[in-house]
């Protein structure tokens, strides 16, 4: 296992008191695997990524759980040790490629700087490797692009450069948080293909965070669905999307306009995500769940194995187990 999270709980302290953003989140990624994390805004996807990277703000507190990377518990590491891990062992790609790049530095130099730091090579060699890195993310004419500033490049090109930066160490794990959300569909497809290709060729494990189930179905081996800071379902992508075990996953799939008959209304999920400040006693999805039973309002189901390779946190699945 490259990465294992066990019962991770993260609390944020705000003006109105404490909010539990992650509640007993567990996950694992094997070497060479692409794990997708899907959920709507506020479900805890990004907080999961930030806690792995040790980038949570000072108002956050990890109150429970473990994060282990290649057998090493990350929560016991100091800031300096985390710093040496980030970028080198764990690469990151964020949503907005413009803010991730230095605006007044040529992209070639940005790449060379990172390469020099991680690989202890000479400056000249770093520049050469930078061109190589650009080639690897399929940039035509890398010599020319290396001499450009980020603002001179399109969004898709910038995201390619961010990926080249993230992969330059090269890391064992790539965390990509909504890497294609700011891009056009046609470019989105190219970027996803690129991530998948790097994963295939180098065996880099990928944690891909997205709100888009379509993206998940295209590139992820396994998928984990989050709701209100909890994992509600986890399994092999195709199986989960074809036969979801948790009513939330099912409702999410039905709410998509992709296959809907234009003559029929869409199957929207009624209501809204619960206020995390006052987390309901039972299952967080109970108030919106069409299949809710009495027990769902009283006691929250834990994430348990419901069949081979599939876990779900739902009382409905208990009998079948």
């Amino acid at each position: 296992m490259v990465l294992v999270l066990k019962d991770l709980c993260v609390d944020f302290t705000g003006m109105r008191g404490k909010v539990r953003a992650l509640n007993n989140v567990s996950l694992s990624i094997e070497k060479g695997e692409v794990l997708g994390v899907v959920g709507e805004s506020g479900s805890g996807k990004s907080v999961t990524a930030l806690s792995i990277l040790g980038l949570l703000g000072s108002n956050a507190n990890i109150s429970n759980g473990e994060i282990s990377y290649s057998g090493q518990n990350l929560l016991t590491l100091g800031p300096k040790e985390m710093q040496s891990l980030r970028g080198k062992k764990i690469g990151m790609v964020f949503q907005e490629p413009m803010t991730a790049l230095h605006p007044t530095m040529k992209v070639g130099n940005q790449l060379a700087e990172v390469i020099k730091r991680h690989r202890s090579v000479s400056k000249r060699q770093a520049c050469k490797l930078a061109i190589e890195a650009l080639k690897e993310v399929h940039i035509h004419d890398p010599e020319l692009v290396a001499k450009k500033y980020p603002f001179e490049l399109s969004g898709g090109m910038r995201q390619r450069i961010v990926i080249a930066l993230a992969m330059s160490a090269p890391p064992d794990l790539l965390i990509a948080d909504e890497p294609t959300t700011a891009l056009d569909v046609t470019i989105q497809k190219e970027i996803l293909q690129l991530i998948k290709e790097l994963n295939d060729r180098r065996g880099t494990s990928v944690l891909l965070i997205t709100h888009d189930l379509g993206v998940v179905s295209n590139v992820c081996d396994r998928v984990m669905v989050m709701y209100a800071g909890e994992v509600v379902e986890e399994g092999i992508t195709e199986a989960v999307l074809n036969a979801p075990s948790h009513p939330y996953t099912e409702a999410l799939l039905h709410a998509l306009p992709d296959l809907a008959d234009p003559g029929e209304p869409l199957k929207a999920i009624p209501g809204e995500v619960p206020d995390l400040q006052n987390r309901p006693a039972g299952c967080a999805f109970a108030s919106r769940c069409p299949k809710a039973m009495d027990i769902c309002g009283v006691s929250a189901p834990a994430l348990e194995l419901v069949s081979t390779n599939r876990s779900a946190a739902c009382w409905l699945r208990r009998d079948t187990h």
Binding site: H140, P262, L266
Partner: protein, 312 residues
């Protein structure tokens, strides 16, 4: 169905110093009364500019736009048909609602464009509360501020604001792009219901093909300012003609799409292209020499048209 809006060879260029960009090039499009026309295309393709010319935010550089038979722009002035007859809902409900105004003030503001009698009639308490209920909000929400609402609720406020003047036509510019999937479904349902109840006409701008397919009767695909293909939604999805439309449809990361052969952009062409060339030449997988002179937009059937030599 009667024609409500007619774009006739509309051009729009933006200038900055000596540079100029043609955001919309020779656009021809008709919107029939009671229909939903979808505009798709990548960012910068001119979708929003086309919409803005309808609500008076941008002036066309060339060509004419008719609304119910009368020109919308005359001598560089926006000729408002009936105040409040054309309304709009923008993408980001975060920035399209004034944070310092109460919901009630926000929703009633468009009425300021109307005469005092009509303003009183349409801004009555009863009408306001029933409108709030209709869009899925509560009467007690009227005295709150925008920051107290979620994204979906804010978009409902924006929809109520558009409806208060009883418009016949609404420009929806990416109305659900900033929303989560479950909330998007709620808002799309609401928009569809309202359209049928009030016999509205929509211009629906979006980059999301699944949403467009679900919402629209007619679709126009834009690329670099030109409408490269337009036709009935079903036909366009089942048998797209323009290479760009084909690529757009095959890039959809839809979970339900059969994973057939995927069409991609060609690597940039080495050939010198002039002003004359087809706008898609540089990335078209089927380009040929004839394409160095841009093809005209031609009808294939009465309703379906395309600007491509291979299909025209």
């Amino acid at each position: 169905m009667n024609t409500l809006i007619d774009f006739h060879s509309v051009d729009k260029s933006f200038h900055k110093g000596k540079q100029s960009v043609r955001a919309v090039v020779d656009a021809n499009l008709t919107v029939k009364k009671g229909s939903v026309v979808g505009l798709v295309g990548e960012s910068g393709s001119g979708k929003s500019t086309l919409g803005k010319m309808l609500i008076g935010l941008e002036m066309p550089s060339e060509g004419s736009i008719h609304f119910e038979g009368t020109p919308l722009w005359k001598k560089k002035k926006f000729m408002r048909p009936r105040p409040g007859d054309i309304q709009t809902v923008f993408q980001d409900p975060q920035s399209s609602l004034d944070p310092r105004m109460r919901v009630k003030e926000i929703i009633l503001e468009p009425l300021l464009a109307l005469g005092s009698r009509e303003r009183k009639e349409k801004g009555g308490r009863e009408r306001l509360t029933s409108l709030m209920k209709r869009v899925g909000l509560k009467a007690e929400h009227l005295d709150r501020y925008p920051h107290e609402f979620s994204g979906g609720q804010r978009q409902r406020i924006a929809i109520a604001r558009a409806l208060i003047t009883d418009p016949s036509f609404i420009v929806l510019d990416e109305p659900t792009s900033a929303l989560d999937v479950s909330v998007q479904a709620q808002v799309l349902n609401l928009l569809k219901e309202l359209k049928n109840e009030r016999n509205l006409t929509y211009l629906f701008i979006s980059h999301n093909m699944s949403v467009i397919r679900y919402m629209c009767d007619v679709i126009a695909v834009m690329y670099k300012g030109r409408i490269v293909e337009s036709g009935p939604a079903r036909e366009l999805f089942e048998s797209p003609r323009h290479p760009y439309t084909k690529i757009l449809l095959s890039s959809l990361p839809s979970i339900f799409r059969e994973k057939g052969p995927v069409l991609s952009f060609a690597p940039p062409s080495e050939m010198e292209t002039g002003e004359e060339a087809c706008g898609f030449f540089d990335r078209c997988p089927f380009r040929m020499e004839a394409c160095l002179k841009a093809p005209a937009f031609e009808a294939i059937t009465e309703e379906h048209g395309v600007a491509c030599y291979r299909e025209g």
